[in-house]
Amino acid sequence: MRSTSIMIVGVGGQGTLLTSRILGNVGISTGADVKVSEVHGMSQRGGSVVTYVKMGEKVNSPIIEKGEADILLCFEELEALRWIDYAKKDASIIINTQRIDPMPVITGKAKYPENIIEKIKAEYQNVAAVPALELAKAAGSIKAVNVVMIGVLAKRTEIPEDTWIDVIRKTVKPQFVDINIEAFRKGYAL
């Protein structure tokens, strides 16, 4: 199979861990070798967090480096900008149009960059800006932002929709299955 490197970037607490787990399990169900690298601990307290999902015939290094990501899944605009160098030139870049100010911006010591999406679009052809927070709210829970994002990503792969839904069903807690599948569909429909 073609090897795929997916990088997920966001802010601690946005549910990127669950996202990487779902992506990893989808990878396995296609018969690929899979590695997922997560971050636990300090940076989960509202810091910048990055997780990597790599699949292919044989995966060695669990981490993705500059210019290597086929897909950059960004949960927040500033984080998209911070990690943009990791995307391949033709990478699929999916950005949740949510803005979470980091403490230096909150306290006025730094400025939040303007027009992030436009700047990225000027350099990369394959950029999707997604109002995932609104879509998640419409699906029934603002916590489902991550699954909306997975839906958008899924549409850009060759893996069938049913495989994704199946994995989501098996990975999330039973009481949240319906909301999450609804959220996935909203992302997939974009």
Binding site: K35, E38, H40, G41, N60, S61, P102, M103, E123, I142
Partner: protein, 581 residues
């Protein structure tokens, strides 16, 4: 069947399959999940111990008692457990004893970057080092076998990227390992000089046998490829080297102490240029140099931080990755912050307001050192806050003590703060210690501890009574406060720092992320009432955002903890209501 597993989860699986029955630990990133996963197996007794020293002692006891047992910790935890470790190397084991130690190159969540291989060598304990989740499971099983065959504790060394990466693991069945018979054997287990002298001889003989074993075990293997370049490597560095060097020849070490000297010589004799690729200390490299084998390692690659395939390509092979875009934006950093609703925020707001010297400790509250709270002056190791406050008083005098407090979390106080407090009482100090009791071990992901009243399995147990404990060691002034009652807490802190005797303030309020914590609903700022004085900005709550023209509350982040309502003099914060509430 193959399953996608975190390195730490695969370790737990290996422990289960090896038939172990006792597992202990004190949490610490990146080792914590090992024991959280072990706790899911009913066949294994598991516990959070008060600290790593106790954890290792319990595991040693279980081993002497005949059980296969384990102990897990982060790298700095091994410093705390070093005392039992160095002598357990002398006593050896009865049931297999395997110690998991997770290093943190790059310091994702640590205060230093020490290399466990150095301590293990000093303690004369063999070390295995897995490079992916499958090896985590396999090496764990092998570690128990080595432990029993050679009568020694064995360390399995992990690093963050192995512990916290998921990979596919082929599972096996659990071995049924009966308890080994317990027999009194003072010559082996009572380490006083006469016995220890004999045991030291045994230790040195054992190391020589382990070195021979290292030459023959399949844990160490050669992968022949192009013989122009030979790479000696282990652990996660092997994965990076595989990507960077492609078809070179590899000597992949799974047992890194003692090193397989014959195998290294054989490898070296058959390749032209040898690179040693290892993160942190030049452990393998120095050994090769000592053997007279010319290798290149730290001359090209750093002693500091994590490696990666591209770092190796750049430094060793001279291939640099070009930047693919022309975006050159100034990007603000995003440091971690205390959560919205964090109980620690009230205390640090006050400590800054009162302009106190604050000796700090390790936990979520260490974040009180960052802007805008900026009120924590020191952080060295767990428990250090109390001893350091006492030391400052003895050096700088009592007037300093009246402007100084030590802050320490509940888990950290139990871990190694109690002895410091006893020191203050015993040696006539007058320091004030604030125990930040948030009913959990927050920083490492919310583990229970002796002060929470629950075990690792979530079963209710006798809870340490912090008030009585402090009184029992001789602190007469023990006060309890709610850190969100700012006025009352400020009054108590002022009284206690002024007192001419030791005092403890226990700040009680649960961590905002605990399941049973409920607040009153999200707030907003009434722009009519807000005078833009920005007092609330001093709290450093991530939900309160300065938009330049005005200040607003981010409803997606606000917990409704109401702390801001207590610093706003114009009652500008109001309940939002509606569907976001």
């Amino acid at each position: 069947m193959k399953k996608l597993m975190l390195g730490n989860e695969a370790i737990a699986r290996g422990v289960y399959e090896a038939g172990a029955t006792v597992a202990t630990a004190y949490p610490g990133t990146p080792s914590t999940e090992i024991t959280e996963y072990i706790a899911r197996y009913d066949e294994i007794y598991s516990e959070w111990s008060p600290n790593e020293k106790v954890a290792l002692e319990v595991a040693i006891g279980a081993s002497v008692g005949g059980a296969r047992s384990t102990c897990a910790m982060k790298h700095v935890g091994l410093n705390v457990a070093a005392d039992p470790l160095f002598t357990a190397a002398y006593t050896g084991v009865n049931g297999g004893l395997v110690i998991f130690v997770a290093d943190d190159p790059g310091m994702h969540s640590s205060q230093n970057e020490q290399d466990t291989r150095i301590i293990a060598r000093a303690a004369k304990v063999p070390v295995l080092e897995p490079s992916d989740s499958q090896e985590c499971r396999d090496f764990t099983r092998e570690a128990f076998r080595i432990s029993e065959e050679f009568d020694t504790p064995v360390i399995v060394r992990l690093t963050t990227r192995v512990a916290h990466s998921q990979g596919l693991v082929e599972l096996g069945e659990r071995e049924n390992v009966p308890l080994k018979p317990y027999a009194k054997d003072p010559g082996k287990y009572v380490m006083m000089p006469a016995m220890a002298r004999k045991r030291h001889v045994v230790v040195e003989e054992r190391l020589a046998r382990l070195a021979e074993f290292s030459d023959t075990t399949t844990l160490n293997r050669i992968e022949w490829g192009d013989r122009k370049i030979g790479v000696i490597t282990s652990g996660i560095a092997y994965q990076y080297a595989k990507e960077a060097f492609g078809n070179a020849s590899f000597l992949k070490l799974g047992m890194v102490y003692p090193l397989p000297e014959k195998l290294i010589r054989e490898f070296a004799a058959n390749v032209e240029t040898i690179y040693v690729i290892e993160e942190l200390e030049p452990f393998i490299e120095n050994n090769c140099l000592r053997m007279g084998i010319e290798v290149k390692g730290k001359a090209l690659l750093p002693l500091i931080g994590e490696y990666s395939a591209s770092l190796i390509r750049e430094r060793v092979l001279g291939q640099k990755q070009e930047k693919l875009n022309s975006i050159n934006e100034e990007i603000p950093v995003r440091p971690p912050v205390m959560c919205a609703g964090c109980p620690h925020r009230g205390i640090f707001y006050l400590l800054k307001k009162l302009k106190l010297n604050v000796t700090g400790d390790i936990g979520c509250y260490t974040l009180g050192a960052l802007s805008p709270l900026e009120s924590l002056d020191t952080c060295v190791c767990m428990g250090a806050s109390i001893g350091m406050a006492h030391g400052m008083e003895k050096a700088m005098g009592k007037d300093t003590a009246r402007k100084t407090v030590a802050v320490i979390g509940d888990s950290t106080f139990i871990h190694s703060g109690i002895t410091g407090l006893i020191d203050i009482v015993y040696n006539k100090g007058t320091s004030t210690v604030i125990i930040l009791d948030n009913s959990t071990t927050g920083m490492t992901g919310h583990q229970d501890n002796p002060a929470t009243g629950f075990t690792i399995k979530g079963e209710p147990t006798r809870q340490v009574d912090l008030v009585k404990l402090c009184q029992a060691v001789g602190v007469d002034r023990v006060r309890v406060c709610d850190p969100f009652d700012l006025a009352e807490t400020e009054r108590i802190i002022k009284e206690e720092i002024a007192a001419d005797e030791p005092s403890v303030v226990i700040s009680q309020r649960p961590c905002a992320l605990l399941k049973n914590v409920k607040f009153n609903g999200v707030l907003k700022i009434n722009t009519e009432k807000c005078t833009k004085c920005r007092m609330c900005m001093r709290l450093g709550c991530p939900a309160i955002v300065d938009r330049g023209t005005h200040v607003e509350v981010d409803p997606a982040l606000c917990t409704g903890c109401d702390l801001c309502t207590k610093v706003c003099r114009f009652n500008a914060f109001e309940r939002l209501g509606g569907e976001n509430a």
